[in-house]
Symmetry: C3
Subunit: 174 residues, 3 copies
């Protein structure tokens, strides 16, 4: 059992087991904010904490397959067009200036061997970070389970999120 394992790790590291959970809502689909979410998640997992990332609204794009198409009529296809989805297509929250900001940041990150979002997802999986897709957002955006990457651990709604969040010592909305 994953939870027990993590608790044991935490106990070994002298961590108060009641302060061992991190739950992050990833609302944003911006590359920089998603990067920040994964940095915190991976740091916490490395420290032996139990981490859940709950992807909702624009954040769901992180979990969509590259160039996956939504299910639905004209409106959904139009929405898809302006909101392409997939970890490779995330915009930057600021200084986008026709793409200069993003490519400049990406090249700086390459110089520092900083991982891409796709690499961060793989690292998160190895570190037992749980990746949850928000079912309400999936409904609105016409995304079904086949449109999501295999790394998704679970589909869940607001009650499951709150059940985790209220037991967590670190809750952030990103």
């Amino acid at each position: 059992m994953e939870t027990t394992k993590t608790e044991t790790d935490a106990a070994k590291m002298g961590i108060d087991p009641s302060k061992n959970k991190v739950t992050l809502v990833v609302f944003s689909g911006d590359m920089d904010k998603v990067q920040a979410a994964f940095n915190i998640a991976l740091g916490a997992a490395t420290m032996g904490m139990e981490v859940t990332l709950f992807f909702t609204f624009w954040g769901l794009n992180v979990l969509r397959r590259h160039r996956s198409k939504s299910v639905g009529g004209f409106l959904r296809r139009a929405f898809d067009y302006i909101n392409p989805g997939g970890a490779r297509n995330l915009p930057l929250s600021k200084f986008n200036f026709g793409g200069l900001g993003k490519s400049a940041l990406r090249r700086l990150m390459d110089q520092f061997s900083m991982p891409t979002i796709e690499q961060l997802i793989a690292m998160a999986k190895e570190a037992n970070v749980k990746l949850i897709a928000c079912t309400i957002t999936m409904g609105v955006m016409g995304v079904d389970q086949d449109n999501l990457i295999d790394e998704v651990d679970d589909l869940a709604g607001v009650f499951a999120y709150l059940g985790e969040a209220r037991e967590s010592s670190v809750n952030l909305f990103i």
Copy 2:
């Protein structure tokens, strides 16, 4: 007494009473973020948790009457013009593209019978979610109590917010 009632509900549902409070700062006035705040608030209230939404900065627009005018000179009126206020006038945080993003999302939400912000406010009131307006923001924006909708429970500042927040198991800045 409302608090006692909620605590009793929570106890009935087997919820640890020390983990029963949710306090959300609604800083953003963007439709999508405000929607996310209400979704979390309503979910928590349904689970028997005690929920406070603290509207500050742009988030205060949610609580302004439709087309209400600020009190003050030219500068305030100019500010009003670019920041119209009222739950019906909230912008979208991303993909606004001349309004296409917002109207497309709104029509998708209609297809799914998702409530408007005005409906969410009414649902929040029925679920005993507390709606608090930030007094500092009211001062800066020239908004007085008459400019706010009747659903506002209280006006308060940062100390009242922190008093609630530090007793809450879920604190988010949205």
Copy 3:
């Protein structure tokens, strides 16, 4: 020892010592969000709480010296150009409209004698709020310690942040 002093203040004020810490991630470099972060920090410090502000990503700009230049090649200089840094140069998250939104808000704030970000930094220092610069962001942006203002208390990474955050009763991502 600062911590002990704060704990004593809190005890005097009847505050549960296990609910006495506030840790804010300042990810955003937008003037309005940074203002909100300092308002919460100063309020909490006034209440006798122990407050840490962790500046990361765009938030690091708050701690950069006015017109300080990054260390590095062409790409870093281009990045500097679109991301000038310094508390006086923060953009506004919304309604910027060629600067009108920001200058209008600034003038309203002046009318209400609201402090500038530089004044807020000084007030935070007096109130024993800890200002931490994120080392990962410093690396990516080519910012070294000489580029940071003297008010910075410490440089730290994600583990130090999480160590503080999980002992805090109020954690926000701003």
